[in-house]
């Protein structure tokens, strides 16, 4: 702890060090053994990981904004859906999938940046956390409404980025779609990590998130860093939305991401809300867990998966509010 922490209202200590890695290791061993023994189990695990990849992108987007402002952006899912519609529109106008993907990322960045500037900053200037949360819900209503207004409420069909090819490996069928989803979502989170770790702007953004006042003193424009964070979060959301829409079980409609947002919330909470790595692990775990529950426990119908995620989130918050990787925050009153 540096001298600076003497002046902070909160003090930090790392969460219990060995239980968490042990639990993760146990989970991985369980999945590997199960996959070796049963090919159905292996397939369900892989498609669960693919779902988890989608949740991971969205969960990291939530964590990004939470770390900077302690606000949970309820509009994150709606913004992701909006950008997915933009991708759909670009493809409909004749662009190839990957060109549309790249353009959408750019548009998402600009859009997220602009939304922070127009909708959130004026509220943040005079309000507290809850006013900003309510404003983000206003944004959710606005963005979802705008989707319905522009594109209508009918379901659209998003083309899949990968050919519908199945690979066989020792009796287990892996779809290219699932593998590609896992690869892209993990890669996008990894690129973001590289950005934060190895660029000057990334360093400035981390500084602005951790010690806003100190960052301002060394010449970082903290408010611009927040806008930048919203832009990056919107990009990650766009990745999540486009990957989700490619899945056959998700329909491209204005409320597409409502349910996925809850899974991403649960993932972020399991990971501790402040840790991107925790959010990724939480998201993958939830994706696999729900998929296995759905296929092996007979009374868990698809309708009950969302309540199950809710129960998991509630349990984590009540038992260990700091999640797997969050740091326990001691409040001084």
């Amino acid at each position: 702890m540096t001298a600076i922490s003497l002046f902070q209202r909160t003090t930090w200590r790392p969460s219990s060090s060995w239980i968490v890695p042990l639990a993760i290791l146990g989970g991985v061993v369980f999945l590997v053994i199960g996959s070796l023994r049963s090919s159905l189990f292996a397939q369900q695990t892989v498609s669960g990981l693919a779902n988890g990849g989608v949740y991971a992108s969205l969960a990291v987007a939530l964590v990004l904004i939470y770390r900077a402002t302690e606000v949970i952006n309820f509009a994150q899912g709606a913004i992701a859906t909006f950008t997915t519609y933009i991708a759909w529109q670009l493809i409909d106008w004749g662009l190839t999938y990957w060109l549309a993907f790249a353009c959408t990322l750019g548009i998402a960045f600009a859009g997220g940046f602009a939304l922070e500037l127009v909708a959130i900053r004026p509220v943040e200037r005079r309000g507290n956390v809850l006013t900003v949360v309510i404003a983000s819900i206003g944004l959710l209503i606005l963005v979802e409404g705008a989707i319905g207004w522009i594109w209508g409420n009918q379901v659209k069909f998003m083309p899949a980025p990968f050919p519908a090819r199945i690979y066989h490996l020792g009796g287990v069928a892996f779809s290219l779609q699932d593998l590609g989803t896992i690869a892209i979502s993990i890669a996008s989170v990894f690129v973001l990590w590289l950005f934060f770790q190895f660029t000057k702007i990334g360093l400035a953004m981390r500084a602005a998130a951790v010690r806003p006042a100190a960052a301002r003193l060394v010449g970082i424009r903290v408010s611009w860093m927040l806008s930048l964070g919203w832009g990056l979060a919107a990009m990650l959301g766009a990745v999540a939305g486009m990957l989700a829409a490619a899945s056959p079980s998700v329909l491209l409609q204005p409320s597409m991401m409502d349910g996925i947002l809850i899974y991403a919330f649960a993932a972020a909470v399991v990971g501790g809300l402040e840790s991107p790595a925790g959010a990724v692990i939480g998201a993958l775990a939830i994706g696999v867990l729900l998929n296995l529950l759905g296929s092996y426990v007979s009374w868990v119908t698809p309708q009950l998966l969302l309540p199950a995620a809710f129960v998991l989130m509630l349990a984590v918050l009540l038992v260990k509010p700091s999640g797997l990787f969050g740091r326990t925050r001691v409040r001084r009153v």
């Binding site: 809850l130 309510i134 207004w149 809710f310 918050l317 009540l318």
Partner: protein
């Protein structure tokens, strides 16, 4: 009993509003009467949110879920057990109270954004549960209820609204109301002054959910139909919009909020200003604008115009619960 000037003005205003609402049926068609009944339902629902969020500072995004619980209580009792529909309202309140206490217990440990997360998830999870147990709730097809005339619905909704309003007013101006506001403004200060935080927070959730349950019952009667989509996320969010626009922490704002949520879409479409598709966009923009300009909503605007009382800028900061983190 000593009655302050503010209270006297309040009672006069309440009587005027009540008379206007009572006389409106003379001029309205049957269709507009059932719209008026829906305004009454939103009035009760927004009031319920205001008690837990506006007065006690515990954010709840799941008010639609409590309405679902009340609504399904009424629907199941009338449809499957042949109850008289008015007789189900107290039962809905009791079941809602129980549900509110159950949600309120974990809420004791959760603050600010965490509470928002959990209640948001409740709003999305409850319709899913209703869909799942279809032999009990009728599933996606839902349950049908007896139909009533617009006038009957209007009277029922507003009589219920009047009773709930008076009871809430009595509750909020008394000991419990003071305790709620103390919890909202500073939990530490409230606890130091002897307010039992667990009891009053749980009580606020319970009472709020009981009122929301009644609102859900009447809502189901007005629609004479119930299915899980009736109580979707949109309903919870519209209640929040109404509370925010009307003013968190104000009983007077509630009627403004209810009228705003139900009548603005209707006004826009009948006046051909805009299609109903644009309504959510306008709602969302209004919520953001209110949060940026007048976080205490229409009630605060009115208060500032009339210099009613001496609420100043500091109250803006404290009224939404500064203890978010």
């Amino acid at each position: 009993m000593r009655i302050s000037r503010g209270t006297a003005y309040g009672v006069v205003a309440a009587v005027v509003v009540a008379v206007v609402i009572a006389l409106l049926p003379l001029t309205l068609s049957d269709y507009h009467l059932s719209t008026g009944a829906t305004v009454g339902v939103f009035f009760v629902a927004i009031l319920s949110l205001n008690i837990v969020t506006g007065y006690t500072g515990q954010i709840s995004l799941g008010q639609g879920a409590f309405m679902a619980i009340g609504g399904y209580t009424t629907a199941i009792l009338t449809h499957n057990h042949g109850w008289n529909d008015i007789a189900t309202l107290p039962v809905a309140a009791l079941v809602g109270f129980a549900a509110g206490v159950i949600v309120g217990l974990p809420a004791l440990r959760l603050h600010g954004v965490y509470l928002a997360l959990i209640t948001f998830a409740v709003a999305l999870a409850v319709p899913q549960i209703a869909k799942n147990y279809s032999n009990f709730t009728g599933g996606t097809e839902g349950l049908a209820l007896p139909t009533h005339s617009g006038l009957w619905l209007y009277r029922t909704a507003w009589i219920v609204a009047g009773i709930v309003f008076v009871l809430s007013w009595l509750l909020l101006r008394g000991r419990a109301g003071r305790a709620f506001r103390a919890v909202r403004d500073s939990e530490v200060a409230a606890a130091s002054s002897g307010v039992a935080l667990p009891i009053y927070k749980t009580l606020a959730f319970g009472i709020s959910a009981a009122i929301a349950g009644v609102a859900g019952s009447v809502y189901v009667l007005v629609n004479n139909f119930v299915n899980p989509d009736v109580f979707g996320l949109t309903l919870s969010l519209y209640i929040l919009i109404g509370a925010v626009v009307g003013g968190l922490g104000s009983l007077w704002g509630v009627i403004v909020g209810a009228a705003f949520v139900e009548l603005l879409p209707l006004g826009l479409t009948t006046a051909h200003v805009s299609s109903s598709q644009s309504v959510p966009v306008i709602f969302g923009a209004v919520v953001i604008a209110v949060m940026a300009l007048i976080p205490l909503g229409a009630a605060d605007l009115l208060r500032r115009i009339l210099h009613f009382g001496s609420k100043t800028k500091e109250s803006v900061q404290s009224s939404l619960g500064t203890e978010a983190r």
